[in-house]
């Protein structure tokens, strides 16, 4: 999951990384109060779970509590990079001498963590990597050894971090290493890492992305997710153990196997439709899972038609059919449902669905074409 800046900063602070004093606010009035408490001059920053906020105008400096209130009023009316702004972090303004970049992230190609630093902070690191790669230091961490202080010294030397900052810099590196391990992080980023006039090396921004696979040993994430304003359907799917992603279209999709479902989305798009979601019922799904999956998709008000696309290997088509019928039992079907079953017990599955509102499709392509047509015939409010 991606943490908001204010959530990440709380964890950074707990790991010993200095961060500016700040308060989370949801109204212009709260912003004014916070600014007053923080000494008047503050930064007002929108909280969205995605980067590139600064460029999109999501950060304002305010010289006074009144200024903070005005900035908050303006920002809270905005939508930034697709996210409606509903909360702001008001932080004390700190006098900055120099800015750096520091992160620890997973490098899939090398199958290990990579420590990245630059003497240019506050930049878009991908852009810098493309345009001036010599300004970036990179050190890969051998997983059998783990992060050591020499890695920090090495990346500092490559990035041109001044020697006199080496002590606190190494400390920050070891701290983000600790955060990575403790919070099962895929990305820990400090950008900018700022040297203040008073000599402290602090995290002005904080980015933290954790590994969903480790959620079973992090019950505390539950509260953070919920604070982060997760979509209610995604939350429900998570609680029900369904692999579901909410998308922006209107064609509901259910299938077995991530690759098959992704390809189903692609085929729908190819036919001119827009998928409303991704939902993988996994391998060997029982009727009950299928039932819950269909209920979830039908509860999405954006959905105007649904495609169920199953290739039976370990999964049995008759079991899927039974789940579908259970889901519809006693429920008014408000949208067209297209079903394509192939593979193990295909004939049995199809037979079960005869005479039901579920419309069969013979092939993958035909199914995609049909559901897109039905979706546009549907409520019609979202073609």
């Amino acid at each position: 999951m991606r943490f908001y800046e204010y959530q990440a900063k709380a964890l950074f602070r707990a790991a010993g990384i200095p961060v500016p004093e700040g308060r989370l606010v949801r109204t212009p009035e709260e912003a004014r109060e916070a600014a007053t408490a923080l000494g008047g001059k503050v930064a007002v920053k929108v909280q969205i779970p995605i980067g590139g906020r600064g460029k999109a105008g999501g950060v304002r400096l305010a010289p006074s509590p009144e200024g903070a209130e005005a900035a908050a009023r303006e920002l809270l009316a905005k939508e930034i990079r697709g996210y409606r702004v509903d909360r702001l972090l008001v932080e004390e303004a700190v006098p900055i001498r120099q800015e750096f970049y520091l992160s620890l992230t997973l490098d899939r190609a090398r199958q290990t963590s990579v420590l990245i630093a630059s003497a240019e902070g506050g930049v878009d690191i991908e852009e810098l990597a493309a345009t001036r790669p010599d300004r970036i230091g990179r050190v890969w961490i051998d997983p059998l050894l783990g992060l050591r202080s020499f890695h920090a010294a090495d990346v500092a030397a490559q990035a041109g971090i001044p020697s006199e900052l080496l002590g606190p810099f190494v400390e920050r590196v070891l701290q983000i290493g600790q955060i990575q391990a403790q919070h099962d992080a895929l990305l820990v980023e400090i950008n900018p890492l700022a040297l203040l006039e008073d000599g402290r090396l602090i995290a002005l921004d904080a980015k933290l992305e954790t590994d969903d696979n480790a959620a079973f040993r992090h019950p505390e994430w539950e509260a953070e997710e919920s604070a982060a304003g997760e979509h209610p359907l995604e939350r429900r799917a998570r609680e029900e153990g369904l692999a579901y992603v909410k998308l922006s279209g209107n064609v509901g999709v259910i299938g077995n196997g991530a690759g098959l479902v992704m390809t189903t989305l692609d085929m729908i798009q190819r036919q001119g439709g827009r998928p409303a979601n991704f939902l993988d019922i996994g391998g060997g799904a029982q009727a009950d899972v299928v039932r819950r999956a269909l209920r979830l998709v039908l509860d999405d008000p954006d959905v105007t038609a649904v495609l169920i696309n199953v290739f039976g290997g370990i999964t049995r088509c008759d079991e899927v059919a039974r789940g579908l019928l259970q889901a519809l039992d006693g429920v008014e079907v408000r949208v067209p449902l297209v079903v394509r079953l192939a593979g193990t017990r295909e004939a049995e599955g199809r037979a079960l669905l005869e005479g039901t509102p579920l419309e069969p499709a013979a092939t993958f392509l035909e199914a995609a074409r049909l559901v897109v047509q039905r979706a546009s015939e549907g409520r019609g409010d979202r073609p």
Binding site: A109, D211, G255, A258, G313, A342, F364
Partner: protein
């Protein structure tokens, strides 16, 4: 011939006493795979589906001469199970488990490399050499023997492709699902190198998806191959930053897009099918 597994492969099942382990042990045996033992600490001495159970991989290997292991251990213990297999000198480790934390997988994958073993997966369906051996959860019945090597990051999508290949009379030398996680033990380039050396394999089908750069790496490798490769990429419609089922299927920071992979493959002379049926057409045209 074939790659990695054949009728001589002697297979252990780690986590054999669990529901999945038990079910697929029966399936693998029914297919004809030599399942020589199972492992579950504390259950040594029992039998599951006619297979003797041992307390540790080391012990199981010593008693059975196993050289491969299939892992059905739940996520919290699966990385440990991989390390145990590597520590005991198992040559081929196939991890089916989905949902292993990345931190543990990074370490386990490195440990397997350090020990000189090979890991397939995790979060994969396994692999099959039709008519000889099935290691994992693939539905054996849809496969038939033939000249097509298949390598894929997904499960069900691959079955769909294999079924359509079968309808056109095109069988497989070996079919491998390398897994849908960001950290996997064996990647496209590794499998392509094996298919290139396998006399039976005449053409390779590569089924990729969004996330990471394994398809781009594969494209570079294919320019050095003598055998034809055709491909398919799923996830053209996927948005950025969303994990599409597979932990590894995610576009992040603009990298790992279907577009990037399709361009790399096309530039390497590898045809990229638009639909599954088109994959089969591409294969048929090249044999």
């Amino acid at each position: 011939m074939s790659i990695l597994v054949n009728r001589e492969t002697r297979v252990l099942v780690q986590g054999i006493t669990g529901r999945e382990g038990r079910f697929h042990t029966a399936q693998m045996k029914a297919y004809g795979t030599q399942v020589v033992g199972g492992v579950r600490a504390g259950k040594g001495g029992q039998e599951v589906e006619g297979v003797p159970v041992f307390d540790s991989v080391r012990q199981a290997r010593a008693e059975t001469g196993a050289n491969a292991s299939v892992i059905f251990v739940p996520p919290a213990g699966a990385a440990d199970a991989i390390c145990e297999a590597a520590d005991a000198g198992i040559e081929l480790i196939v991890c089916i488990t989905e949902g292993i934390p990345v931190r543990e997988m990074v370490q386990a994958a490195a440990y397997v490399r350090a020990r000189g073993s090979r890991l397939i997966g995790p979060n994969c369906p396994g692999l099959i050499t039709p008519g000889e051996a099935l290691l994992g959860i693939l539905p054996g019945a849809i496969f038939r023997r033939g000249p097509v090597g298949v390598v894929s990051r997904s499960g069900t999508l691959t079955y769909q492709v294999v079924a359509e290949l079968g309808e056109r009379g095109l069988g497989q030398s070996t079919c491998i699902g390398v897994g849908g996680d960001p950290i996997i033990g064996t990647r496209f380039v590794d499998v392509l190198a094996l298919f290139e050396e396998d006399p039976e394999t005449e053409i390779v089908v590569l089924i990729g998806e969004i996330g990471g750069s394994d398809e781009e790496d594969a494209a570079r490798f294919i320019t050095q191959m003598t055998k034809p490769v055709v491909s398919f990429i799923s996830g053209r419609s996927a948005p950025e930053g969303k994990r599409m089922g597979h932990a590894g299927a995610i576009i992040s920071g603009g990298t790992g897009t279907a577009q990037s992979k399709i361009e790399a493959l096309t530039a390497a002379g590898v045809p990229v099918a638009e639909t599954i049926t088109e994959i089969v057409d591409l294969v048929a045209a090249r044999l």
